[in-house]
Assembly symmetry: C2
């Protein structure tokens, strides 16, 4: 069996296996990033034109590209519809970017921690991952400058708004500084923003790509966290020098994104109805975030430290006594609790023990306390065993 | 700008540019492989469960996997639902296969001619393409044996049923012989069957994968030619040794295929309603195929040779006086006619001048004659200019 060299780096996906285990109905899952079922909006299909059944353009539906460009301009991103490419969920942006940039040994720059599935696809293509530790308001600037002085990464992949997994939102000052540094060293920015609209406490977060003066960029988003993930509709907006390459890569990957989902997304993006839905969504998730905070203080106050996330879908816990949280997975599942160990979110998992990512969007608040109590007991037992 | 090495092989897609030009309403297009608008079935969405809006499994919807496995078993393919992966159109199968097998310099085996977009993605990943010329009833067996004796290709990619572009359907004897030879040399088969159901004149064509005794295999199909291409729903069925790798590659590419389209496909696959639709579709396209044959005899009888295709969507013309048919594209478009030059369907385009691929599904029969007359005039003019 002669597979490609990259297949030797094709790891079994922890996400997939946990989600599989977490699908047993008796399991309470803090693992995934699933929207709450109750907040999936009711959508109508009756008005969809029959033409949406025919082949479409690789770029995506023109009206949807216009609507997304208008949204991005409202955020301060200087762009035209011609720079918008509709993708099969924003995960596909990462696949296209990997194809565009990464050969075996290509250096790229990532946050530590960073999005697990991004790490997987970049490493699959053979990337060497440089990392910059995240602080409470963004990446450490000293470390960032040092990496850029000593290396020439093909791109920097950043999730500046309610980062997955850490929940960090870069401050305005940090955004300016990061943009200036990427311009100075002429490093392409890939800015991933699935969680931008899940903002519970207000505050500004203008995209970093809008602050660039020189560097190339790809900005990517999705309707998966705000509308319906099952549509598999995301988008990227790219600087004009990158767009033609990304378009050809999109075409060779799957010809074009499904038009049914694109049509549905167009019924929402930029509308008053969607704005109303987003207000409801924020209110709903804010209640769950607050309930999670109360339950965490009760059960994890002595076990871990964390910041209250101001948006997104996750709490990121730092255990006071670090241990390999992957070892907690089996005993937790035996208690019918699923969670996401922190190690796989790092390019060097073994060097970063002691973090847990806990989703708060999917579990009803009244069930939280019981679940976290059981998870805390699993942590305590593992720590006691380690000491003994 | 430091792109990956593979981007240097990222060609501008002729398909995309022609389809863009062919979208002008005044252009009569023989270029694409679009289903006739009139034959896109009316579909209902009212009964779709709200749960289809949530994230789904990377494997695809369980019921659809079951239905597709049952269809494949009815064709003689020994498989279970656990071997079925739902993909974002069968183009994605080619992307996943390229990732699974191809490093720079990996040898693969293709028909000559072969599907343009397959050639593009395999070459993007750096494949060295070995080719076997197609004859009227399949690949030349002497040439196939010679390639397999002298090389060890990672896989053979074949389109045995109403091949794109040639329209060739392998005979039963040729299918047996190819299967035996792939077994003998233990070469993986990727069998691509988008056109299987578009069978106008009856006759058997049991999949080659069902005849393998030893070699690994991927069988791929789609609902794009029989239901609605805009759904972007295809599938692959793989031998159990390959499935786990393909599943992980699918997950890293786009998490999962859109569930909306999967649900719609499930309303049709294997049903009496679908069988009835396929009968109508065959009747409709048979009339168009026959009309095309009449019009071709009238206008191209002295210019080209061809076989009447027994299925699929294309006539494949061999000019009696070969010339580079890419040079015909501009004068044809000036006459508001689009067609597909033959050269890009070959791994060595410049060594294979003188073929044209003409689609017959998309143009109303009463318009054919005028269009082919103008195209024939373009060919005559180019040949006269060449002689002069």
């Amino acid at each position: 069996m002669a597979f490609s060299e990259r297949v030797s780096r094709l790891k079994s996906s922890l996400i997939r296996e946990i989600l599989a285990a977490a699908q047993r109905p008796e399991v309470m899952s803090f693992a995934g990033g699933l929207p709450a079922e109750a907040m999936l909006p009711k959508v109508e299909w009756a008005q969809m034109p029959a033409a949406m059944g025919q082949y479409g353009m690789s770029e995506g539906e023109p009206a949807l590209r216009e609507a997304l460009a208008a949204e991005a301009r409202a955020l301060g991103v200087d762009c035209e519809a011609s720079q918008v490419l509709i993708v099969s969920g924003s995960q596909q942006t990462l696949d296209l970017a990997a194809k565009l940039y990464i050969d075996k040994g290509t250096e790229i720059l990532l946050e530590a921690p960073t999005y697990l599935a991004a790490l997987q696809i970049f490493q699959l293509f053979g990337a060497d991952c440089l990392t910059v530790p995240l602080q409470a308001d963004g990446p450490g600037l000293g470390a960032l400058r040092e990496r850029l002085q000593q290396h020439k990464p093909a791109f920097a992949y950043l999730i500046p708004t309610f980062q997955n997994p850490s929940g960090v939102r870069y401050s305005e000052a940090r955004r300016d500084a990061v943009a200036a540094m990427l311009d100075e060293f002429d490093v392409t920015l890939i800015e991933d923003e699935p969680y931008r609209e899940l903002n519970f406490d207000g505050g500004k977060a203008q995209p970093i790509v809008s602050r660039l003066k020189k560097a190339s960029w790809i900005y990517t988003g999705t309707v998966s966290k705000t509308l319906l993930p099952g549509l598999r509709v995301g988008y990227l907006i790219a600087s004009p020098d990158l767009f033609p390459h990304l378009l050809r890569l999109k075409q060779s990957a799957d010809l074009h994104t499904n038009r049914i989902g694109q049509w549905q997304a167009l019924q929402w993006v930029g509308t008053e109805k969607f704005k109303g839905h987003l207000v409801e969504l924020r209110d709903f998730y804010r209640v769950r975030r607050d309930a999670m905070q109360v339950a965490l203080e009760q059960h994890f106050g002595d076990l871990a430290d964390w910041h209250v996330p101001q948006g997104g879908l996750f709490f990121w816990l730092t255990l006071k006594q670090p241990l390999d949280t992957r070892t907690l997975l089996k005993p937790a599942l035996e208690q019918n609790i699923a969670f996401m160990p922190g190690e796989p979110f790092f390019a060097e998992p073994d060097a970063n023990p002691g973090y847990l990512r806990l989703n708060f969007s999917h579990i009803a608040p009244e069930r939280l306390s019981g679940g976290l109590e059981r998870l805390a007991a699993v942590v305590r037992q593992a720590q006691a065993a380690k000491v003994a």
